[in-house]
Structure formats: structure tokens, C-alpha cells
């Protein structure tokens, strides 16, 4: 166990898999000579050379497709999008070629590829640069979608993703890169579809991941301090597959549900979770679930507007109080 940064955990996961399997390589913009736009691939070029750590032109459609093609013959590409906002110019490759090749070839060609990079509103990057792509990609059968919250999860989930035979969308939050946490040095594999209770509680279930999960945790602490409310924070860790049983189990205990995401509300992950919960356990709910999301508007540049649009601990706390009928 060592206390390392989120970005270091990702770096460690990639290096360990590079060492284990010569078919693993990394391609993306500025990943090699620049050491990564956000320094996630720091030192990897020096260690593995230019064939395994590959700088690409600003051609997301091109190098995403390159990765898929290489994966079709059994290579294990890790394609870094500087941010997933830029994956939208490669959308057809990610939602058609990657997830449907295995199916349309009748199971002949699997596509073991990992698309990774930043998702979620950064620091005042305005509407086109601030996408939370969780919903866009979770919508698509054939893809798997992973969102780590802690350095521990980051390492364990990325290693699993690289070894998985299916295309994996691996979403990172810029805000988390610098966070530190305990991470075991050697082998660490976290299975997909297993939620993690980030905070035990009895009064309300909050389902949250990544940036939103940290907001939920501080909201939970605040509510406990101020009002003795015990919030359970459940981190699904993977959105596809989704650990519905764990969510239902928690709700059976608490009777209330709040979801948190930085994405747009409409047809979002919150909507999906709430719909599944209502379908399977409406009777366990003592109030209607509440989804906390970014407001249904383009993400603005101006700082106060940005913080008004993207949900933080305060809005999560408000939602929890409302969900459990709490009044001071």
C-alpha cells in the first residue's frame, strides 16, 4: 500500500499491464513526448518507446478507428481522448465500430479496447468542452462504461478494463487527478458491475460516482454533523454493467433514493437508475426519488454561473433533505 495520486494510480495500472502484455499500447494526443496533457502517461514514452506510447495528430476519428482495427486482430489499445468532449468527432467509431463488430461478425471479432480520458465539466471551459458523456455511451449496448472515484478504484478498474475483451469507456474527472489515496503496489483487479459502499448509512441512499460521489460524501458528512442524518453513499463504479441489486438492497434499508451526476438531466443516468428502481422496488420507496444533475442548459464559462449549473455538495444536501422530508 502506498499513498499516491489518482493520476499516478492510472499510470501504474497502465505500466503494469504494459509489462504483462506486449500487445498493450497507448495512443492519443500529447501522450508521449508531452508526457500527457494532464500528465497521466508521465514517463511512459521513456520507459516503453514510441511504438507503445504513440503521439497522434488531432484526428480522433482516425486514431480511435486505428485502435479498433488493431483490437480486431487481438491488440490491446488504450486510446486516450484528451477529453471525451473530443470523442464526439469520433462518435461513429466509438458507438458503431467498437461495440457492434463482435455482434455483426457473429462473435468472430471481439474489440478489446479502452477509451479513456476526462469526462465532466472542467474549470470554465464553456459549453462544447464540458461534456459529461456518461449517458451518451451508457445508452449503447456493446459498450461498458466505467467511472472510478478513488485512486484505488482507478487502478483496479483500469487494469480490469485493459484485460476485458470488450470495448470499455473509462471516464476520468479532471478534478480528481490530484487526489491521493491508498493503493496496493501489485496486482489489483476490481470486477465490473460491483458497486462499492463509500459511506454506510440508514436514512437515505445516494447513488453517485466520480466527482459527484465526492460531492455526495461531503454532503453526507455535513448532514450528519448538522442534523445527525445518516446517508449511505453507494458508488456503482461501473454504469454498464450497473449493480442494480446493490442499489435495491440499500434502498430496502433506507427507503429513499437520490442520484447525483454532472451530466445533463434529460435521458441521463439518474433517469435510468430511477426507472429501474421504480420498476423493481416502487413499494420500498417512501418518497419519489430525486435526481441531482447539471441544470438543463449549456455549461457556461462564467465561474458563478458554472457553479450554479454543476451540482455541488450543497445541492446534493438540499436534495437529500427534500427526499427524506427533512425540515429544520
Amino acid at each position: 500500500m502506498a499513498l499516491i495520486q489518482f493520476r499516478e494510480a492510472l499510470n501504474q495500472a497502465m505500466c503494469e499491464e504494459f509489462d504483462l502484455n506486449p500487445d498493450v499500447f497507448l495512443i492519443g494526443e500529447e501522450v508521449a513526448e508531452y508526457d500527457g496533457a494532464y500528465k497521466v502517461s508521465q514517463g511512459m514514452l521513456a520507459k516503453y518507446g514510441p511504438m507503445r506510447v504513440v503521439d497522434a495528430p488531432i484526428s480522433e476519428c482516425g486514431f480511435a478507428g486505428l485502435g479498433i482495427g488493431a483490437a480486431m486482430v487481438g491488440m490491446r489499445p488504450i486510446v486516450e481522448f484528451m477529453t471525451f468532449s473530443f470523442s464526439l468527432v469520433a462518435f461513429d467509431q466509438v458507438v458503431n465500430n467498437a461495440p457492434k463488430m463482435f455482434n455483426m461478425s457473429g462473435g468472430q471479432l471481439s474489440v478489446p479496447i479502452v477509451f479513456r480520458g476526462i469526462s465532466g465539466p472542467g474549470q470554465q471551459l464553456a459549453a462544447t468542452h464540458s461534456w459529461s458523456v456518461e449517458a451518451l455511451y451508457t445508452h449503447v449496448p456493446g459498450l461498458k462504461v466505467v467511472v472510478p472515484t478513488t485512486p484505488y478504484d482507478a487502478k483496479g478498474l483500469l487494469k480490469t478494463a485493459i484485460r476485458d475483451p470488450d470495448p470499455v469507456i473509462f471516464l476520468e474527472n479532471e478534478a480528481l487527478y490530484g487526489n491521493k489515496g491508498e493503493v496496493p503496489d501489485g496486482e489489483l483487479l476490481i470486477p465490473f458491475g460491483k458497486a462499492d459502499v463509500k459511506r454506510e448509512g440508514t436514512d437515505c441512499t445516494v447513488v453517485a460516482w466520480g466527482q459527484g460521489c465526492l460531492a455526495a460524501l461531503s454532503a453526507a458528512d455535513q448532514l450528519h454533523k448538522d442534523h445527525g442524518i445518516n446517508v449511505e453513499v453507494l458508488d456503482p463504479r461501473t454504469l454498464r454493467p450497473l449493480d442494480l441489486p446493490a442499489i435495491l438492497k440499500s434502498i430496502r434499508k433506507t427507503g429513499y433514493l437520490v442520484t447525483v451526476e454532472t451530466g445533463y438531466p434529460t435521458c441521463g443516468i439518474g433517469a435510468e437508475i430511477i426507472t429501474q428502481v421504480v420498476e423493481h422496488a416502487m413499494d420500498d420507496l417512501d418518497n419519489h426519488p430525486i435526481r441531482v444533475t447539471s441544470l438543463d442548459v449549456p455549461i457556461p464559462y462564467s465561474k458563478p454561473l458554472l457553479h450554479h449549473v454543476v451540482p455541488g455538495a450543497t445541492r446534493v444536501a438540499e436534495a437529500i433533505k427534500k427526499a427524506i422530508y427533512f425540515t429544520e
Binding site: 495528430p57 476519428c61 482516425g62 486505428l66 482495427g69 488493431a70 480486431m72 468472430q108 471479432l109 470488450d166
Partner: protein, 363 residues
């Protein structure tokens, strides 16, 4: 058109420097020293082209009988392109193409029974009925589809080339697409990557003059397609007569040599023509019967037959034998497909994930 192979008009080398010049000559030279293929080789090409032709004639019938669904794009007229070029490739070389893929699949050695079955949506189809006409695949034979989004497979070809280079394997990737695909961004990004990384890929535009109902000159600002990649991507472009199986064979062989020598990628403008409509539902108002007949006079199968006869490589009996064998082959494959069972409905949950999770597991 159909024109002779014009090695002369390789792209202008100005501004891209000596190495570029070297490249072009490489191909030109090797090309000038043609190797005459053996009679048995050419007879095999004749057989393959005829098989593709008869296979598709049967497809058309079955489509009219509504036993085949979806979009069905026939290759009739273009057979020499796939047969001649793939004849020059080796089993380990990668082949990938667009949705007009029947010819390439057969030329790469796929049995026609699983192809008919795929068209019929049957379990015994090469994709178990998941893909249909536009999505033939045979991973074992290094045939990577069959792709329906125009231009979308070209970056995949770059990935195949990348894998070969990365693994230091002696493989060349042959990527086919239509003249309409040239105007997709994916073509541009893919060719720049191939030119930049010097990948062993041959990009072949099957220029049959039309993208659906749109003539090349109404879709492309430059109609001399072989020029579009030299100055743009440092990938030399050449032109070849796609109605001539022998020319396709020789040119492709030279390009493969060029790629194997580590020179990078090549671009081939293949002049060809489709006799049938774009797909099965195409009134073809955009061209005249005369235009079609003009090209049919240069039919690739007829031309090769003529050659073989002139050289006395083959006699009447042999011809009949071949064609009867093909006929029998098509009929039995078709009958088998017709009789074969559809996939069980639960198969919809199959092959969604290689490493499935509930609900895919529970099914």
C-alpha cells in the same frame, strides 16, 4: 476508359522530396517487369469471377422473392477488382472493404454456403444472421468485413496496418472503398495517419463513377482521384483498369512489394463500373442504358475468357465443366441456405459481449 494502366501519371513529386520520388519509381520499375501468371492461375481467376457473378445473379433472384432483406449491393461488373488484387495478396494479408462485399469475401476464399445463409438471416450464416449482405466476415481467413457506414472502415484498415507493423509481421492490408467514400472525414484522417506512420496499407478506391445516383464530378472537387493523396498525404497514387483482372493482379503485386519493402502506403484509383443499380431498389435514372452497355463490352469475365481461349489455355469442355461446377455449387449452397433454420430468438442476446454480464448471461 477502361484505360490502360498509366504508370506515367503517378502523382507530382514536387515539394514532397526525394523519398517520395523514390517511392513512385519503385512501383513503376517493378511494374515494368511483368510476370505472366500461369494458365492455371488465370483459369482460377476466371472461376472465381464467374462464381461471384453467378452467386450474385442468384442473390438478385432471392431478393426479388424477398428471401433476402435489407440493402443488397451487387458487385456485378467489378469482379476483376477483388479477384485480381486478392490473387496478388497472400493468405496472411488483411482484407477489409465496404458494404459491397460479396466479391471480396469470395475472392478471399469464403465458402458461398455460409454467405447465402447470411443473406437469408440463418443461423448457419457467416455472422449467424446478425450482419446480412453488408457485413460478411471471416476472421480465420483474414477477411475483416463488410462495413456499412461509408468511409467508417478506412481507419480500421489503418489499425490493421498498425498491428502488422507493431508486431513486425509480414502482412499487407488491402482496404477497398468507393469513390463516394473519398469525401468522408474518416478517409482523410486515416490516410494522413497511414502516411505519417508509414503503414503497409494499400487503399483502393473502386471508382465506378457513381456514389449511389451522384456522379463523381458532382461529389468530388477533383475527379482525377489518383492525385488526391500524393500532395495531401505523401501516399503515391496510381491508376489501374479495374475491368482487367490481369492488370489488377500486376498492379497490386507491385504495390504489395512496395509496402513490404517498408516504403509506407499506396493509393490505387481503380477504374471500374457496376452494371446493376446501387442497391436492389434503384431506378437508375441517373445513367443511360448505352453507358451501361458500353462498359459491359469490356466485361472482365468476357475479357479473361477471350484471353484464355486465344492462348489455348483452355478448351470448350473445360469451360463447360467449370461453369457447370459453379452452377451446381451455387444451387446446392442456395438450397442449403433456404432449408437451414433461423437462429433461435434467444440468440439476440448472444455475441453482444465477449465477456457478458446479466442479463446477457442469464439468457
Amino acid at each position: 476508359m477502361p484505360a490502360a494502366i498509366t504508370c506515367a501519371d503517378s502523382p507530382p513529386t514536387s515539394g514532397v522530396g526525394p523519398e517520395r520520388t523514390k517511392r513512385v519509381t519503385t512501383v513503376a520499375d517493378s511494374h515494368s517487369t511483368k510476370i505472366e501468371p500461369s494458365p492455371s492461375q488465370m483459369i482460377e481467376w476466371y472461376r472465381q469471377m464467374s462464381l461471384i457473378r453467378q452467386f450474385e445473379v442468384k442473390c438478385a433472384q432471392s431478393y426479388q422473392q424477398q428471401k433476402v432483406g435489407g440493402f443488397c449491393h451487387l458487385y456485378v461488373g467489378q469482379e476483376a477488382v477483388a479477384v485480381g488484387s486478392i490473387a496478388a495478396a497472400r493468405p496472411q494479408d488483411y482484407i477489409i472493404t465496404a458494404y459491397r462485399d460479396h466479391g471480396h469475401a469470395i475472392a478471399k476464399g469464403m465458402e458461398i454456403a455460409p454467405l447465402f445463409a447470411e443473406l437469408y438471416g440463418k443461423l448457419s450464416g457467416c455472422s449467424h444472421g446478425k450482419g446480412g449482405s453488408m457485413h460478411f466476415f471471416d476472421a480465420k481467413k483474414n477477411f475483416f468485413g463488410g462495413h456499412a457506414i461509408v468511409g467508417g472502415h478506412i481507419p480500421l484498415a489503418v489499425g490493421l496496418g498498425w498491428a502488422a507493423k507493431y508486431r513486425k509481421e509480414d502482412r499487407v492490408t488491402l482496404c477497398y472503398f468507393g469513390d463516394g467514400a473519398i469525401n468522408q472525414g474518416s478517409f482523410h484522417e486515416a490516410l494522413n495517419l497511414a502516411g505519417l506512420y508509414k503503414l503497409p496499407c494499400i487503399f483502393m478506391v473502386e471508382n465506378n463513377g457513381y456514389g449511389m445516383g451522384t456522379h463523381l464530378h458532382r461529389a468530388s472537387a477533383v475527379t482525377d482521384l489518383k492525385l488526391r493523396t500524393g500532395d495531401a498525404y505523401n501516399i503515391p497514387g496510381k491508376e489501374v483498369d479495374g475491368m482487367d483482372c490481369l492488370a489488377m493482379y500486376n498492379m497490386t503485386r507491385d504495390c504489395i512489394e512496395y509496402c513490404r519493402a517498408g516504403n509506407g502506403s499506396m493509393f490505387l484509383e481503380v477504374k471500374t463500373y457496376r452494371y446493376r443499380g446501387h442497391s436492389m431498389s434503384d431506378p437508375q435514372k441517373y445513367r443511360t442504358k448505352e453507358e451501361v452497355t458500353k462498359f459491359q463490352e469490356h466485361d472482365p469475365i468476357g475479357r479473361l475468357e477471350k484471353l484464355l481461349r486465344e492462348k489455348n489455355h483452355i478448351d470448350e469442355a473445360k469451360f463447360n465443366a467449370i461453369n457447370e461446377e459453379i452452377h451446381a455449387q451455387v444451387e446446392s449452397a442456395h438450397a442449403a441456405a433456404d432449408a437451414a433454420p433461423f437462429p433461435p430468438l434467444d440468440d439476440v442476446w448472444r455475441d453482444v459481449y465477449a465477456n457478458p454480464f446479466p442479463p446477457y448471461l442469464s439468457r
